[in-house]
C-alpha cells in the first residue's frame, strides 16, 4: 500500500505542474503584453473550418442566435434550421427531417446528444425536444445539426440526422444569474444558474429551473364544448457540470407533467385527470486526454433513468407506466500519427438494465400488461479521413452494431470532399443507417382479454440508404451560399397493423419509402449590421409500393431570419417560416407562413437583460397531421404567443 500512496502523492504533484501549464482567456488578460507575444497559437478556431471537412452539411445555432431570436425550446431552435419542421400533438413535440415524420411515431429517427451523451430514452428511443429537453436552453452554447445518416459513428437513432447540444463553459457565464419569464396562458418560468472558475482551473456550473403554464382552452369540431385548462404543463430541471482538466462530470434531472386537450386513445374529452409525466435522470463522466501529440483519447460513461407515467381516463382509469435504466460506456481514440490520415475508432456498450412496461386499469383493478425486459447492445467503429490530395479529402467510416434481438448490422459512410477553391467546397456523401426496433415496438402488448396490442420480438431494424451532393461557396468574406440535392430510401419501416387472426394491433416491418429533395441556402451580414439566414427546401417523399405521398411530409419549407440593431442597443430578430401543405390520414392540411419577432436589450440596467418575443405574430391558424389515436385528422398548432424574459446577472 505504501507504494500506491507514494505514487498517488507523486501524481498529485505531477498534476499540479500540468495544471500550471494550461492557460485560460481570463489568465491571458492578466498577463503582460510582452509575455503574450511569446505564446504559441493554433489558428482558425472558427467553426467554419471543421464544418468544411465534415462528412455532412451541418448547421449550427449559437447561444447568440438563441438570444437574438428568442428561442424558447430546442424545438424552436430546430424549427429555424433548413429542412426541419415540428409537429406538436399536445403531449410531445416531433421533428421532421427530410420530409419524414410519421404521426404516431416517436422521435426515434434522430439522435439527440448533450455534450456527446446519447439522451434518447431506452423504451421509445424518443428524442425529447420540447420543455422536456434535459437542459435549460440558457445553458446551451450551441446546437449542431448534421442531416443524413450518422450511424457509421453513432449507431442506433442516427438515422435521419444527429443533433448535438453543447453546453456552456463556466468561464462564459461567470457568477450567479437569475431568469424570470412570463408567457401567454398564464405561463411562468424561473431559473437560477451559477458559473464558477476556480484558481486551480476547475469549473463548475449549477442550474435549476421551474415552470408552470395553465395553457390554452381548445375547441375541436369532433367534440362539443371547450377543453378547459387541459393544455397545462409544468416542469422542473436541475443540471450540474464540473470540469477539471480533461475530466467532465455532469448530472441532471428533468420532470415534466403535461395534460392533453385532444382526448386521444378514446379518453374522455375535457377530463382534467388526463396527464403524462416524464422524469429523466442522468449522470455522466467524460475523460479526454492526449496520450501523445498525435493520439487523443475520450472515455465516456453514463447512467440514465427514464420514467414515464400516463393517466388515461375513459369509462375506466387506465394507467400506463414505463421504467427504463440504461448504462453506456464508450471509448474513442483519434489518431493523426499517419501523415494524411485522421483515424477515429471507438467502441460503445449499451446495457439496458431495465425495460419495464406496465399497463393497468384502476377500479376495477386489472393488470393488462406487465413486461420486464433487459437488453445488451454494442457497437464498434472506425473512420478514416484521408487526404488524397491537397484539394481532395475522403472520409470513410464503418460501424458494426450487435443486438440481442436481431443480430448484427454494418453501416458505412463514404464522403468525398473537394476543396475546389479556398471558397468552394463540394461534397458527395453516401451513407447507410439503421434504426433498431425499440422496446415498446418489440414487447409492449399482451394477448389477455381487453388488450388491444401485442408485441413482436422478431422485428428487424429499419434500414436507410442516402445519397447526397452539396456545394458550399463563400461569395465574399461576409456571404455564404449553399446548394444540395439528396435522395434516400428506407426499407422495412416499422409500422402498426391489425392482425386479422386475433384482432390485435402489432408492429411489423411494413413498407418502403423513397425521397428526393433539394435545398438552397444563403446567409451573411450586411455592413449595416443586419444579418440574414435563409433556406428553401423542396422534397418529395413517397411510399415506394403505392407511390403515395407520405403523411406529414411538406414538400416545401422556407425559412428566413433577419437580425440586427434597430435602435441604440435594442436588438431585433425576425423570422418567417413557411411550411407547405401536408397530407393527413384522410385529407390534407393547408400550407402556413408563420412569423416570429423578438426584441431584446442587453444591460438595460447594469446586469439586466430584457427580451420580448412574439411567436406566430399574425396568429395564423394551421394544423399538423395527427395519428389514428386521435379523432381529429389534424391538430391545430399554437396561435400567437408571447414571452417576456428578464435575466439578471449578479
Amino acid at each position: 500500500m505504501g507504494l500506491v500512496a507514494f505514487l498517488s502523492f507523486l501524481s498529485l504533484i505531477y498534476s499540479a505542474v500540468a495544471r500550471a501549464e494550461s492557460t485560460k482567456t481570463s489568465e491571458l488578460l492578466e498577463m503582460p503584453l510582452d509575455s503574450l507575444l511569446g505564446l504559441e497559437v493554433v489558428s482558425a478556431s472558427t467553426y467554419a473550418q471543421p464544418l468544411q471537412h465534415a462528412p455532412s452539411s451541418s448547421v449550427i445555432v449559437t447561444s447568440q442566435d438563441i438570444r437574438t431570436y428568442g428561442y424558447r425550446t430546442l424545438a424552436d431552435v430546430l424549427a429555424s434550421m433548413p429542412g426541419l419542421y415540428i409537429s406538436n400533438d399536445r403531449s410531445w413535440e416531433y421533428v421532421g427531417v427530410r420530409g419524414f415524420s410519421r404521426p404516431g411515431d416517436y422521435n426515434s429517427r434522430v439522435l439527440l446528444m448533450v455534450d456527446g451523451m446519447r439522451t434518447n430514452d431506452n423504451i421509445y428511443n424518443q428524442a425529447y425536444i420540447g420543455n422536456d429537453f434535459l437542459v435549460d436552453l440558457d445553458l446551451v452554447e450551441r446546437v449542431e445539426f448534421s442531416p443524413g445518416p450518422g450511424a457509421s459513428i453513432y449507431g442506433d437513432n442516427a438515422f435521419l440526422g444527429v443533433i448535438n447540444v453543447v453546453t456552456k463553459k463556466a468561464r462564459d457565464m461567470k457568477g450567479v444569474a437569475t431568469t424570470a419569464e412570463l408567457s401567454r396562458y398564464r405561463g411562468y418560468k424561473g431559473s437560477v444558474r451559477y458559473g464558477g472558475e476556480f484558481d486551480n482551473g476547475a469549473e463548475l456550473i449549477l442550474s435549476a429551473t421551474a415552470s408552470d403554464t395553465a395553457g390554452r382552452d381548445w375547441r375541436y369540431p369532433e367534440f362539443t364544448g371547450k377543453a378547459r385548462d387541459m393544455d397545462g404543463e409544468d416542469f422542473s430541471k436541475v443540471f450540474a457540470k464540473f470540469s477539471f482538466e480533461g475530466l467532465t462530470l455532469e448530472v441532471g434531472r428533468m420532470r415534466r407533467d403535461k395534460n392533453n386537450p385532444t382526448a386521444p386513445f378514446g379518453t374522455n374529452f375535457n377530463d382534467p385527470r388526463y396527464e403524462t409525466r416524464d422524469t429523466h435522470t442522468f449522470a455522466s463522466a467524460t475523460f479526454e486526454h492526449a496520450l501523445s501529440d498525435t493520439l487523443q483519447m475520450r472515455l465516456h460513461a453514463n447512467h440514465g433513468r427514464f420514467d414515464y407515467e400516463g393517466h388515461y381516463p375513459s369509462t375506466l382509469m387506465n394507467i400506463d407506466r414505463t421504467h427504463g435504466v440504461r448504462n453506456i460506456i464508450e471509448g474513442r481514440l483519434t489518431s493523426t500519427a499517419f501523415e494524411g490520415h485522421k483515424i477515429v475508432s471507438g467502441i460503445e456498450y449499451i446495457r439496458d438494465a431495465r425495460l419495464d412496461m406496465v399497463n393497468f386499469d384502476v377500479a376495477p383493478a386489472q393488470i393488462l400488461l406487465r413486461e420486464r425486459r433487459d437488453a445488451d447492445k454494442f457497437g464498434i467503429y472506425l473512420q478514416d479521413e484521408i487526404r488524397l490530395h491537397q484539394k481532395w479529402l475522403l472520409n470513410a467510416g464503418l460501424r458494426y452494431d450487435h443486438y440481442d434481438s436481431f443480430g448484427g448490422t454494418v453501416n458505412p459512410r463514404l464522403a468525398l470532399i473537394h476543396q475546389a477553391t479556398p471558397s468552394d467546397t463540394f461534397k458527395l456523401i453516401y451513407g447507410r443507417a439503421f434504426r433498431a426496433p425499440n422496446a415498446y415496438e418489440q414487447f409492449y402488448g399482451s394477448t389477455t382479454m381487453g388488450a388491444m396490442q401485442k408485441g413482436n420480438p422478431n422485428l428487424q431494424p429499419e434500414i436507410m440508404q442516402s445519397y447526397e451532393a452539396t456545394w458550399d461557396t463563400a461569395l465574399n468574406s461576409q456571404w455564404r451560399a449553399k446548394a444540395g440535392v439528396f435522395h434516400y430510401r428506407i426499407k422495412d419501416t416499422i409500422g402498426q397493423e391489425l392482425d386479422p387472426v386475433d384482432n390485435l394491433w402489432v408492429f411489423r416491418n411494413l413498407g418502403r419509402v423513397r425521397t428526393n429533395g433539394a435545398e438552397i441556402g444563403l446567409e451573411g451580414l450586411w455592413l449595416n449590421g443586419i444579418r440574414l439566414k435563409s433556406s428553401v427546401t423542396y422534397q418529395d417523399a413517397r411510399e415506394t409500393e403505392t407511390d403515395d405521398w407520405l403523411v406529414n411530409s411538406p414538400r416545401l419549407l422556407a425559412k428566413l431570419g433577419l437580425s440586427g440593431r434597430i435602435h441604440g442597443e435594442w436588438l431585433a430578430g425576425a423570422e418567417v417560416q413557411h411550411i407547405g401543405a401536408r397530407r393527413t390520414m384522410a385529407s390534407e392540411t393547408g400550407s402556413a407562413t408563420l412569423a416570429n419577432l423578438t426584441v431584446s436589450h442587453r444591460d438595460l440596467l447594469p446586469g439586466l437583460d430584457l427580451s420580448v418575443g412574439l411567436y406566430n405574430l399574425f396568429d395564423k391558424r394551421y394544423a399538423a397531421p395527427s395519428d389514428l389515436v386521435n379523432l381529429q385528422d389534424a391538430l391545430r398548432q399554437d396561435g400567437r404567443m408571447f414571452r417576456i424574459k428578464l435575466d439578471y446577472r449578479f
Partner: protein, 175 residues
C-alpha cells in the same frame, strides 16, 4: 503486486497524472487579450463624442469570429472605466466606438468604414493579410506561430490617439 485491483488503480493513477501536453492557445483567445492590451495602452483625446462617459466601448463590425471568448472583456476596467462590448455593429455606429475590430473585410467595405470614420478618434484593429494594401491603425497577424501586430503611426496621429511607448516598442513594425 499480487492484488490486481491495486495494479489497476496504480495504472489509472499513473495515466491520469501524466502531464497534459501544453495546452495550445486558441487564436481568438489570444486576440481577445491583445484587444484588451491595445485599449489599455491607448489614450483617447478628450473631444471624443463618448468621452466623459465612464465607458470604453469595444466594437466589432462584420462577421465576428471571436465566439464567446470576447465576452470576457465585458465589464472589465481600464483606468476606472468599464469596457462595454458591442458586437457586429452597423456602419453608422462606428463613430461611437473607442476600439473597432474589423473582421477580414472586403477592401471596399474597409474603404466605406474609413470614410464613415473620417477623423473620428477610433482605434481600428484588424487581422487583414499583411500583404494587403489596406490598413487599419493596428493590424494583427500570425508570424511563426506567434501573434504579432503592426502599427500605422500616421493613422494614430490622424485619429489624435496617444499610444504608450511600450505598445510601440512591442509592435513588430511601426510605419
Amino acid at each position: 503486486m499480487r492484488n490486481p485491483m491495486k495494479a489497476l488503480l496504480l495504472a489509472v493513477l499513473l495515466w491520469v497524472s501524466s502531464p497534459v501536453s501544453a495546452a495550445p492557445i486558441q487564436e481568438y483567445e489570444l486576440k481577445t487579450a491583445f484587444l484588451y492590451n491595445f485599449a489599455l495602452f491607448t489614450q483617447w483625446p478628450n473631444e471624443t463624442v463618448t468621452d466623459g462617459s465612464p465607458y470604453i466601448t469595444v466594437c466589432t463590425i462584420g462577421q465576428d469570429p471571436f465566439g464567446p471568448v470576447l465576452e470576457q472583456l465585458q465589464g472589465r476596467k481600464i483606468r476606472e472605466k468599464r469596457l462595454v462590448l458591442r458586437r457586429e455593429i452597423s456602419l453608422d455606429q462606428v463613430r461611437d466606438c473607442h476600439l473597432l475590430y474589423i473582421s477580414a473585410n472586403e477592401p471596399e467595405n474597409l474603404a466605406r468604414i474609413r470614410e464613415q470614420l473620417q477623423d473620428a478618434s477610433v482605434l481600428t484593429v484588424s487581422d487583414l493579410n499583411p500583404a494587403s494594401t489596406e490598413r487599419t491603425i493596428v493590424n494583427m497577424s500570425i508570424d511563426n506561430k506567434r501573434l504579432v501586430f503592426d502599427i500605422d503611426m500616421m493613422a494614430v496621429k490622424q485619429a489624435r490617439l496617444v499610444m504608450s511607448s511600450k505598445l510601440l516598442r512591442l509592435a513588430r513594425r511601426v510605419y
